[in-house]
């Protein structure tokens, strides 16, 4: 009898004797595994990038918008009603599970500053805005609660507005911006946020205290929406239903009547988007897995050829006292060494490929350890599966005929 370690040595000797053929045989698995690693990395990257975009909207963000109103039978869309008030926001802020609330008053207005002019979205918000939207100040500072309480004429500019109004690169902080003929002092700028998930330029905005927006620009008391930040993502559903209950009570909505507001959270959107990304990733991985299977069939082909080519060698080994099981094991181990060797090489190439994709395409392609282990395990399984038939053929050879084989 002959041990596994010894059989492994015999198999390695046989593979090294046919170095170039062994390498060519591996090639299919190398390409298959590399493809799996790269596509899984790209798929993971897509998911990460979707998650990042969703997170960039604000952590655990819940948005309350006014519902639709019906005037003489004509219904406006959602947001058409003017039912949300600052007091609603203050009430919501007192709910447990809510960490911060910022109202949002939206006005499109023409801006004039530095001899330039630009139409943009003027958003009246509370000082909690930076927390609620996870958006930091780039230079200068954000406005304070005191400035909000006094409806101060201060503004914080988004980067797109900075570029449009101060193309000369001069520092906007401390300068004056005229919004609808009201002069505001620029006290800070936001860091660049990029596009939203819907493709909007989030940096094309000016942030001012919501009190200033209501008193100096819109002249009303109703607000466009309430942005609510939950303490953590796990309780977002219960916070959402608490807000619904509170507002129904405050707005005196009779049971059975439609609400005059809507509460939405971003997790639903996030889940849908990441599910899409997962499906995309799975699809890519499935295509790559097919190439891995094709690589396995390549191994089987070469092993079958090899069994025929080495008929005399097999006959000799049997004559010298190799049991059928020893021959079977040797050929099986040869196939598994080829496939896992190819797998390991494929992992190296795949990791390098994923790094190249990340570098050149600025795509967060990250290779996970589990993907590497899975690819290695799968390639070993490919070796066993596709190596078994040729190995059994080798073990079943009649030694007398095998020795005479030309």
């Amino acid at each position: 009898m002959i041990g596994i370690a010894q059989t492994l040595r015999l198999a390695l000797q046989a593979l090294i004797r046919n170095r170039s053929r062994s390498l060519l045989t591996m090639l299919g698995v190398v390409i298959g595994v590399a493809a799996v690693i790269v596509t899984v990395a790209i798929g993971t990257g897509a998911k990460t990038s979707v998650a990042n975009q969703i997170n960039s909207l604000g952590s655990n963000l819940i948005v309350v918008i006014p519902g639709s109103v019906q005037t003489s039978g004509a219904r406006t869309g959602n947001g058409g009603a003017s039912t949300l008030t600052v007091q609603d926001g203050l009430a919501i802020a007192k709910l447990p599970g809510v960490s911060a609330v910022s109202p949002s008053v939206n006005v499109r207005a023409q801006l004039v500053a530095n001899g330039q002019n630009w139409q943009t979205q003027v958003t009246g918000v509370a000082p909690t805005f930076t927390t609620v939207r996870s958006w930091d100040v780039g230079s200068g500072r954000f406005f304070t609660q005191n400035e909000t309480d006094t409806s101060a004429k201060v503004a914080v500019l988004g980067q797109t507005v900075v570029k449009q109004l101060f193309p000369d690169g001069s520092d906007p902080v401390g300068r004056s911006v005229v919004i609808r003929n009201v002069p505001f002092t620029v006290i800070g700028t936001m860091i660049a946020k990029g596009q939203s998930g819907a493709g909007q330029d989030q940096d094309d905005t000016v942030l001012i205290p919501y009190t200033s927006a209501l008193e100096r620009l819109t002249g009303g008391t109703t607000i466009g929406q309430l942005m609510v930040s939950a303490v953590d993502g796990d309780h977002i559903d219960s916070v959402q239903s608490q807000i619904t209950g509170l507002l129904e009570q405050r707005h005196q909505i009779v049971a059975g009547q439609p609400d005059d507001f809507q509460v939405r959270n971003l997790q639903d959107i996030a889940q849908a988007a990441s599910a899409t990304a997962s499906i995309l990733g799975l699809l890519l991985a499935a295509v790559a897995a097919v190439s891995l299977v094709v690589g396995g069939i390549g191994i089987m082909n070469i092993m079958l050829v090899s069994v025929t080519e080495r008929t005399r060698e097999i006959g000799l080994r049997v004559a010298l006292g190799a049991r059928g099981a020893a021959i079977l094991r040797q050929f099986l181990i040869e196939a598994v060494v080829l496939s896992t060797g190819g797998g390991a090489l494929g992992v190296l190439i795949g990791v390098a490929g994923a790094a190249a994709v990340a570098f050149f395409a600025h795509w967060p392609a990250s290779v996970s350890i589990s993907a590497i282990l899975l690819a290695l395990a799968f390639s070993a399984a490919v070796g066993v599966f596709f190596g078994y038939w040729p190995a059994r053929k080798a073990a079943a050879l009649d030694p007398i005929r095998a020795l005479r084989f030309e």
Binding site: I2, R17, R312, V318, L320, G321, R323, L403
Partner: protein
């Protein structure tokens, strides 16, 4: 003394699909004692190759008895036969059958690998066997770096490395020129005379058979003659 090989009424029939069966052996009786050097001769189809395969435990008889070193082996399973081959038998083939791109010493080690001999013991036993055939300094050569005669001597070293009870040689000089043939046959004689190794040799060349001490002739599946090799004929052939 227990005979190495003892066969009684050995028969081998190859069934053919849709045709008549081919009868290769029609009742063979033969005994080979330890230390004998037997040449088996006969024309093609005489059954001598089939006989050698059965004696070499590569094939099983259809009927009859075969005692190898006193044990009945004609009903053993494939694994038991493989184990017996690795421990008790040495093979030399016409085509040498050395593993290509493998050094001489590794080739000689191969039977011990399958017999489960530890690596360190294998190395020294293989080296001794190569010394016995006079090729110690070629241990690290590969078959394609050796002449035909040298390759066959490596094969002989491989056949004796396990101290087998019987060496079977199938046309060992069939692929060699006259001088190399003489070398190889002299080597067999030395192994037989000096080490007392039992050798059974299949050949169709009378001057090769003349090196043996006993000559068995096959025809149509029977043994037709079994006699000591004439000493005078032997001298003539060798001289």
């Amino acid at each position: 003394m227990t005979p190495v090989v003892q066969v009684r009424d050995l028969r081998k029939i190859y069934p053919l699909d849709g045709g008549e069966d081919v009868v290769a052996l029609r009742g063979v009786d033969l005994t080979i004692d330890p230390g004998e050097f037997v040449a088996v001769m006969g024309p093609s189809g005489s059954g001598k190759s089939t006989f050698m395969h059965i004696v070499g435990l590569l094939d099983r008889p259809t009927s009859g008895e075969y005692r190898f070193a006193g044990n009945e082996v004609s009903a053993l399973g494939a694994d038991a036969l493989a184990d017996l081959r690795s421990r008790a038998l040495g093979f030399v083939f016409q085509a040498y059958n050395l593993l290509p791109r493998t050094t001489a010493i590794e080739n000689v080690e191969l039977p011990m690998v399958y017999a489960g001999v530890p690596a360190a013991t294998r190395r020294s036993a293989a080296m001794e066997a190569l010394e016995a055939v006079g090729l110690a300094k070629y241990a690290q050569h590969q078959p394609n770096q050796l002449s035909g005669g040298q390759q066959q001597r490596v094969a002989i070293a491989r056949s004796i490395v396990n101290q087998p009870q019987l060496i079977l040689a199938d046309e060992p000089t069939g692929a060699l020129d006259t001088a190399s043939s003489e070398d190889v046959m002299a080597l067999f004689r030395r192994l037989n005379e000096e080490r007392g190794m039992t050798v059974m040799l299949v050949t169709h060349e009378p001057d090769v058979a003349a090196h043996a001490r006993r000559l068995v002739s096959f025809r149509d599946g029977h043994i037709v003659s079994d006699e000591p090799v004439n000493e005078r004929a032997k001298e003539q052939v060798i001289a």
